[in-house]
C-alpha cells in the first residue's frame, strides 16, 4: 500500500508518463474525457464520470481491422496483431471497472477478439474510488461498491489530502514498484482512512432500486404494452449507447482509397434504424419501439441470460446525458418496484 500527497500528483503523472502511455480524466472546454497526459493538462479527479467511458481503450470508437490493396494482386494485412499500446488508465471509477468484465465476456469469449485482448492486456488500470457519488449514480442496484474496484490493477482512494494506492494484481504491483521514487509507504492509519472513505461513499450513495429479479420478470415482457409508451420520446440518437460503458455493438465498414483501403470497425448503435436494416428491405426492428426494447432487454434480460450478469453498472451517464431523459434507471424503477 502506497500513498502520495495530492499536491505532488504532477510528479506522479510525470513519472508514470515516462514509463508508459498515461491516460487520465482531463478537462477540455469544461468537458472531461480520458485523454493522454501532457505537461500542463487539466487533470480532473473530481469529475465522477468522463463523457466517454473507458471502454474506448479496449474497444476504440474506430479501429482498423485490416488493410488491403488490390492493384496487382489482392493483399490483406491483419491489423489486430499490432493493436494497442502499453498504457496506464488512471482514474477509472469502480462502476467503469466493473464494466470491463462485461466487455471481457463478449470479446474474450470464443472466438477471442485479438485486438481487444491485446489492448486489455497492455493496459494497467488504476481505479479511483468514489467519495461523493452523484444523485444519478445507481451502481448500488448492481452491488457495485463505489469505493472498491476489484477488477482494477490498482485501487486509488482519495483520503482528503492524499491518494492511497493499493495494488490488486501482479500488474498493479509492478506498476507501483516503478513509482517508488514518488510514492510513500502508506500506514495503517491510511488504511483506516481508506476504509472510512469507502464507507462514507457507500452511505452517500442514493438509494438504488434493486435489479434482482428483473431478468426473470422481463422474460415474459417482450410483448408487453410497457414498451408502447416507453419509447415515445426517444429521438433515436445514439447518445445512450455511445456513452454506455457496457454497450459494445459495432459495425464494419470499408474505407477505400483507390486500389487500397482499410476495413474498420466502429461503434454502432441499436438505436439507429439501419442497425438491423437488411439489404432486401426487411427490418426486424422496424420502429423505435423495437429498438428501445432491444436495448433494455439486452441489458437486463438477454445479456444476463447469456452471461449471468446484467449489462449495466449504474454509472448514470445515460441518466445525465439522454436528451429526453429516457434511461435505464427509469426502466429499473418501473419494473423493479420502488426503492
Amino acid at each position: 500500500m502506497k500513498k502520495i500527497a495530492k499536491t505532488k500528483l504532477v510528479e506522479l503523472w510525470r513519472q508514470l508518463a515516462s514509463e508508459t502511455g498515461l491516460y487520465l480524466p482531463i478537462a477540455s472546454d469544461g468537458v472531461v474525457n480520458f485523454a493522454r497526459w501532457q505537461e500542463g493538462a487539466e487533470v480532473d479527479l473530481e469529475a465522477l464520470n468522463t463523457l466517454l467511458p473507458a471502454k474506448k481503450f479496449f474497444f476504440p470508437q474506430t479501429e482498423t481491422v485490416l488493410k488491403y490493396s488490390f492493384s496487382d494482386d489482392l493483399v490483406l494485412e491483419d491489423c489486430a496483431g499490432k493493436a494497442g499500446e502499453a498504457l496506464c488508465l488512471f482514474g477509472a471509477r469502480p462502476c467503469e471497472v466493473a464494466s470491463f468484465s462485461m466487455l471481457d465476456r463478449v470479446f474474450l469469449g470464443e472466438p477471442v477478439d485479438e485486438a481487444y485482448r491485446r489492448r486489455r492486456e497492455l493496459t494497467t488500470v488504476i481505479a479511483l474510488g468514489c467519495n461523493d457519488p452523484d444523485e444519478t449514480c445507481f451502481c448500488g442496484s448492481f452491488d457495485i461498491d463505489p469505493g472498491k474496484a476489484p477488477g482494477a490493477d490498482v485501487l486509488a482512494t482519495d483520503t482528503g489530502d492524499e491518494l492511497v494506492l493499493v495494488a490488486q494484481s501482479a500488474k498493479g504491483e509492478e506498476l507501483l514498484s516503478l513509482l517508488n521514487g514518488v510514492l510513500e509507504e502508506a500506514t495503517s492509519g491510511d488504511e483506516n482512512k481508506v476504509k472510512d472513505a469507502q464507507e462514507k461513499a457507500k452511505a452517500k450513495l442514493p438509494p438504488a432500486p434493486p435489479a434482482g429479479g428483473l431478468m426473470e420478470k422481463l422474460d415474459g415482457m417482450f410483448e408487453d404494452s410497457y414498451w408502447d409508451l416507453l419509447y415515445q420520446r426517444c429521438i433515436a440518437c445514439g447518445t445512450c449507447t455511445y456513452i454506455c460503458p457496457t454497450c459494445h455493438c459495432f459495425d464494419i465498414q470499408e474505407y477505400p482509397t483507390g486500389s487500397r483501403g482499410e476495413r474498420i470497425r466502429c461503434w454502432d448503435s441499436c438505436m439507429y434504424a439501419d442497425f438491423t436494416q437488411m439489404a432486401g428491405g426487411h427490418n426486424p426492428r422496424p420502429t423505435q419501439k423495437e429498438r428501445v426494447r432491444q436495448r433494455f432487454m439486452h441489458k437486463l434480460n438477454y445479456f444476463p441470460r447469456q452471461h449471468g450478469e446484467y449489462a449495466c453498472v449504474g454509472c448514470g451517464r445515460c441518466v445525465r446525458k439522454c436528451p429526453v431523459n429516457l434511461d435505464i434507471l427509469e426502466v429499473i424503477k418501473d419494473l423493479g418496484g420502488a426503492v
Binding site: V65, L66, Y68, F70, D73, L74, L76, D78, C79, A80, G81, V106, F107, G109, E110, P111, V112, D113, E114, A115, R117, F222, E223, H248, C249, F250, D251, I252, Q253, E254, P256, G261, R263, R265, D268, C270, F275, T276, Q277, M278, A279, G280, H282, P284, R285, E290, Q294, M297, H298, N301, Y302, F303, R305, Q306
Partner: protein, 276 residues
C-alpha cells in the same frame, strides 16, 4: 484458433461463376494454392469480402461431401451482392467462416426427409440435400418441394431436373408462381403445392427455407398436416456484420442468429421472441 483476429479473412479465388436466374449467380471459390478451405457442415455460413465494396454473410450451398471448393448462390439485393454480380472468374475475394450451427445431420439419420424451399433459399437446403444424397444409405425417402416465382427463377436447374431425380428414392416436386410457355409443371404457391402433395408426417423431418411469407404459410400448413414443431427445421436470416456473435445486431432474444443459428427447429423458434 485462439489468438487470431476473428474478423480477418483469407484470400480465395473465384473459380467459376454460374448464372442461375436473372438475379442469382452461383460462385465457386477455391483456395489460391489448391487445398481445402475449411471443414464445415451443411447449413453453415461464411463471410465473403469483395474489396473495396464490403463483406456479407452467405450460406454455403455446396456440400462438405464435395471437397476442394465452396459454393455460394447469391441473389442481387444490396451493394455487396450487386458488386459480386459484376465480378468475373479469377477475382480474389476474402473468406472467413464457417459460422453458425448446422442442420442436425446426425439426428436426421434414418428419417424420411421433406425439403421445402422457395426461391434463392434453396441455397442452404442444397448443401444438406447433396450431403444426404452423398450419404444416401443413412437416410430414408427424400422429397424435395421447391418453388420459385417463374420457371426462369428456379436455381440449380441441373440438379433439380437431372441429378436429384436420378438418385434412389428421391422425389423432386417443382412449382412456379407464374405460368409461362416453357413450363408444364405445377403452377401455384409452395404452401398450396405442399398441401396438395400432402406428405404424411409419419417418420418424417421437414427442412424448410424460403422467404418469410412462404415460411409463415408453410409452417401453418405443416401444423395442419400434423407435423410436430420438433420435426420442422428452418433457417433464419438477419443483418450480420461480424458473424461471431459480438457485433450485437442479429440477436433474437438471447440467441445470436450468426452463432446460435441460423438453423432452428420450430420448437426452438416458438420459445424465442417474435422479432424476425
Amino acid at each position: 484458433m485462439g489468438c487470431q483476429n476473428p474478423l480477418f479473412p483469407r484470400v480465395v479465388v473465384v473459380e467459376e461463376i454460374r448464372r442461375e436466374t436473372p438475379d442469382v449467380k452461383t460462385f465457386r471459390v477455391v483456395a489460391p494454392d489448391g487445398g481445402e478451405l475449411f471443414d464445415y457442415k451443411p447449413g453453415q455460413c461464411a463471410m465473403l469480402s469483395l474489396f473495396p465494396v464490403g463483406e456479407a454473410l452467405f450460406s454455403i450451398t455446396s456440400s462438405p461431401t464435395r471437397r476442394g471448393f465452396l459454393e455460394f448462390s447469391i441473389k442481387e439485393t444490396g451493394m455487396v451482392t450487386r458488386a459480386l454480380h459484376e465480378i468475373e472468374a479469377g477475382t480474389k475475394l476474402g473468406l472467413r467462416g464457417p459460422y453458425g450451427n448446422s442442420f442436425p445431420t446426425e439426428l436426421l439419420k434414418g428419417k424420411d426427409l421433406l425439403f421445402i424451399g422457395g426461391g434463392i433459399a434453396l441455397a442452404p437446403l442444397r448443401s444438406l440435400i447433396n450431403y444426404c444424397l452423398d450419404n444416401r444409405d443413412d437416410y430414408g425417402r427424400v422429397d424435395i418441394i421447391y418453388g420459385a416465382r417463374s420457371s426462369k427463377d428456379l436455381v440449380q436447374k441441373v440438379e433439380l431436373f437431372e441429378n436429384w431425380p436420378r438418385v434412389r428414392d428421391t422425389h423432386v416436386h417443382l412449382t412456379v408462381d407464374v405460368k409461362s410457355d416453357d413450363w408444364d409443371g405445377n403452377v401455384g404457391f409452395v404452401p398450396a403445392f405442399l398441401e396438395q402433395l400432402n406428405p404424411s408426417p409419419e417418420g418424417k423431418v421437414t427442412i424448410t427455407c424460403g422467404p418469410p411469407i412462404m415460411i409463415k404459410f408453410v409452417l401453418e400448413s405443416l401444423a395442419r398436416m400434423g407435423y410436430q414443431p420438433e420435426n420442422i427445421i428452418t433457417t433464419l436470416e438477419m443483418k450480420m456484420k461480424c458473424g461471431v456473435g459480438k457485433c450485437g445486431r442479429c440477436n433474437i432474444g438471447d440467441k445470436y442468429v450468426c452463432k446460435d443459428g441460423p438453423v432452428f427447429s420450430l420448437a426452438e423458434l416458438q420459445q424465442m421472441p417474435n422479432e424476425f
